[in-house]
């Protein structure tokens, strides 16, 4: 499917050995729990999220210490992440007024769905403790990181230097993510793509873009 991307030497499906995995994963979970515990204490009115964050912290420590076996890491960490997300949502919507009489307030629905999400996330995580599951695929850093960097750099550059230079640079940064990059070919392709985008967005669609750097 994707030429120009190096094949992974160990195959795509091999993850970390189990014991280190538990330590690192557990520490990440514990750190998240601690962070959200702090956030929930900083926010008023967030009693339940405090308990949820504290539970996350304890689970993280238990996993890191090896007290809690994780048989299906994909499910376990996925479920925990959903619980953390619902903790975040509950904390953030803690100050919103709830039900008045039988009319929903702005905070009712977010809290309702947060609780459902927390329950589902917990169920997924429990499944990860008891059922055997595949290891988490190893993350590759280079390609994904450069793609993200290039998108962020587009966002950062587009206002100060204009669309044309930003497009060209974004193309060049993202193409570095491929291991079979060739400079001359890439430059030509980047220039061609920039011209195409200019033609499509500016000439044909008439969008009000700032094309070149503006000097104040």
């Amino acid at each position: 499917m994707s030429e120009g991307v190096s094949p992974s030497p160990g195959g795509a499906r091999r993850g970390f050995p189990v014991h280190t995995h538990n330590l690192i994963g557990g520490l990440i979970v514990a750190a998240l729990g601690l962070g959200f515990l702090g956030y929930a204490f900083y926010m008023p009115n967030a009693v339940i999220p405090r308990f949820m964050a504290a539970a996350t912290l304890l689970i993280g420590i238990a996993v890191a210490a090896g007290l809690l076996p994780v048989r299906g890491p994909r499910d376990f960490y996925g479920g925990i992440a959903l619980v953390v997300l619902s903790t975040l949502a509950l904390t953030a919507s803690a100050e919103l007024p709830g039900q008045r009489g039988f009319a929903f307030g702005p905070g009712t629905a977010p809290r309702l769905f947060s609780f459902i999400l927390a329950a589902l996330g917990a169920a997924v995580a429990v499944g990860g403790v008891f059922a055997e599951g595949p290891e988490i695929e190893k993350y590759k850093v280079r390609g994904p990181a450069l793609v993200v960097v290039s998108i962020i750099s587009f966002a950062a550059l587009v206002r100060p230097v204009g669309v044309i230079i930003a497009t060209f640079l974004t193309f060049m940064i993202s193409i570095l993510g491929s291991t079979e990059m060739r400079w001359i070919e890439s430059m030509i392709a980047a220039a061609a793509m920039t011209a195409f985008c200019w033609l499509l967005f500016v000439v044909l669609l008439n969008l009000p873009f700032q094309l070149w750097p503006r000097f104040y």
Binding site: E3, G4, G143, V148, F171, S178, A189
Partner: protein, 501 residues
């Protein structure tokens, strides 16, 4: 009947407008292109083009986006047959027999049968959309908030049960989508919810950002991780496009059955082209006198799934256009496109904007006609496109997406939000979560909340209203039953088998 004909006539009048023909052609071309190219899916493409449709008239924009969806069904089969690389998930199954046929020197008949089958399915589905539109719309007009809420629950549950992977995780994704859709100002009171005092979030998270991140960026990141695959293009000399009389006789039944099955699956929420093609293939294999021919170049194995995926792609517009409920991720994007233009999808589209409704339906038929022309003679051109290496393709898609998102609001923050969703989408795949239910939840979120709140208000806080009103009760009970069925161990195992196959 006369009303139907006069409506269709009006639709063709709209669709035959030169501009709309141009948009239809454009959509069909882009659709074929993404269908041919592996690594870019339909969802990602429609997400990419959402910002562009902003400047177009609504009818033209929707005609173009619809064209991309069914066009991709045509294009996907071409590479499946010739190169054994499915350009789309919907034509994975076509590889089995289509590529075998190509190896036996029968690439021409395989291509033309898949095009003929798709065209037939397209025609039938067009008529079906037109015929079912009016009655379903009149049912939808009887619905109150409670019924709407229950209907949306049912739709989401259907989507979850028919998707691959764990039901529990898919439900969790739907809820995550609902929760994300609540970021921003409250509908009734205007209070800022979960905005973290970020000004850009006060309006909520833009749907285009979420879609582009989850499907466009995440797909690029994901593809960069995969090991390189060699693309050896079979030097298939396509001699004699026309199928023989025997081919036509053999495949006629398969095309009809595929179309019927595809149309049915397409209407069901959560269905869609992928499941339709798999179901049609399995069905053909089951009823065949000699199942061992399948996998060795049986023409029915090309005809049935290709007809089915095209039929399903078109009939999945029915729930969207009549009830306002998107049955799959592509339709969720269509909701996004409609809302960009200020059209609220649902039964009122047909009465308030008949030219949009019927124009789109008529354009589907015209588009199918165009596709047969685009695909058969130009097959060589499309295949040569596969020579574009992915290392040049992905940066192009990426900058295109970036400019596209930026253009919606001229806001760099939107680009950053999409990048965040790209990383989230990448993470989700690592943990076997499907992004499609999240998108559905995200799109339906505001509607669901609004209807839930209204229903509760009307019922004076009585939760049982969802079960005491008959239509709502039937819908909700069906949803619950489905969920229980999907959870039963026996059916779960069957379901896993189906998706593994």
């Amino acid at each position: 009947m006369t009303e139907l004909l006069s409506n269709l006539w009006m639709g063709f009048h709209v669709a035959a407008n030169p501009y709309n023909i141009l948009f239809c052609l454009l959509g069909a071309l882009v659709g074929t292109l993404v269908g041919v190219l592996p690594g870019i899916g339909t969802v990602a493409t429609i997400a990419m083009l959402l910002p562009i449709t902003f400047g177009l008239p609504p009818v033209g924009a929707l005609i173009m986006l619809a064209g991309i969806y069914y066009g991709a069904q045509y294009g996907g089969s071409t590479t499946s047959i010739l190169v054994n690389i499915p350009g789309e998930a919907t034509s994975v199954i076509t590889c089995l027999d289509g590529h075998q046929m190509a190896r036996q020197g029968r690439a021409g008949p395989a291509l033309s049968i898949s095009a003929i089958g798709s065209f037939f399915a397209g025609c039938v589905a067009t008529v079906l959309v037109a015929a079912l539109g009016a009655p379903l719309t009149s049912i939808a007009l009887l619905f109150g908030p409670a019924e709407y809420f229950s209907l949306m629950c049912l739709g989401l549950i259907f989507a979850v049960v028919l998707a691959k992977g764990s039901v529990l995780k898919a439900v969790a994704m739907v809820i995550t989508g609902l929760l994300l859709s609540m970021v921003g100002s409250d509908l009734e009171t205007g209070a800022g919810r979960m905005t973290f005092d970020v000004a850009e979030l006060a309006d909520g998270i833009g749907f285009a950002n979420v879609a582009m991140g989850l499907f466009g960026f995440a797909e690029i990141i994901r593809n960069l991780e995969l090991p390189a695959e060699s693309r050896d293009i079979v030097k298939a000399k396509i001699t004699g496009l026309m199928p023989t009389r025997q081919d036509l006789i053999d495949s006629a039944g398969a095309i009809v059955r595929g179309t019927a099955l595809g149309s049915l699956v397409g209407i069901l929420p959560g269905g869609g082209a992928v499941i339709a093609s798999f179901a049609a293939y399995t069905f053909e294999k089951k009823i065949a006198k000699d199942p061992s021919r399948f996998g060795n170049g049986a023409i029915e194995g090309v005809a049935a799934p290709e007809s089915a995926n095209n039929a399903a792609a078109q009939t999945s517009f029915i729930p969207l256009l009549t009830l306002g409920i998107p049955p799959n991720a592509v339709m969720a994007l269509m909701v996004g496109a409609m809302t960009i233009h200020g059209i609220v999808p649902g039964p009122q589209v047909m009465t308030k904007q008949p030219e949009l409704f019927w124009g789109m339906i008529a354009s589907m038929w015209i588009g199918n006609l165009m596709l047969i022309v685009i695909n058969l003679p130009l097959v060589g051109v499309w295949v040569s496109l596969l020579r574009v290496p992915y290392r040049l393709l992905y940066p192009s898609i990426l900058v295109f997406c970036c400019i596209g998102i930026y253009s919606i609001n001229n806001s760099p923050t939107d680009v950053v939000i999409a990048a965040i969703f790209g990383v989230i989408g990448f993470w989700l795949v690592k943990h076997d979560f499907e992004p499609a239910p999240l998108t559905l939840g995200f799109v339906l979120g505001p509607l669901m909340e609004e209807n839930l709140r209204r229903a509760m208000l009307i019922a004076r806080g009585d939760v049982t209203v969802f079960f005491t009103r008959p239509i709502s009760s039937v819908l909700l009970c069906t949803a619950i039953l489905l969920l229980i069925l999907a959870g039963l161990p026996k059916i779960r195992r069957r379901r896993d088998e189906v998706f593994v196959e």
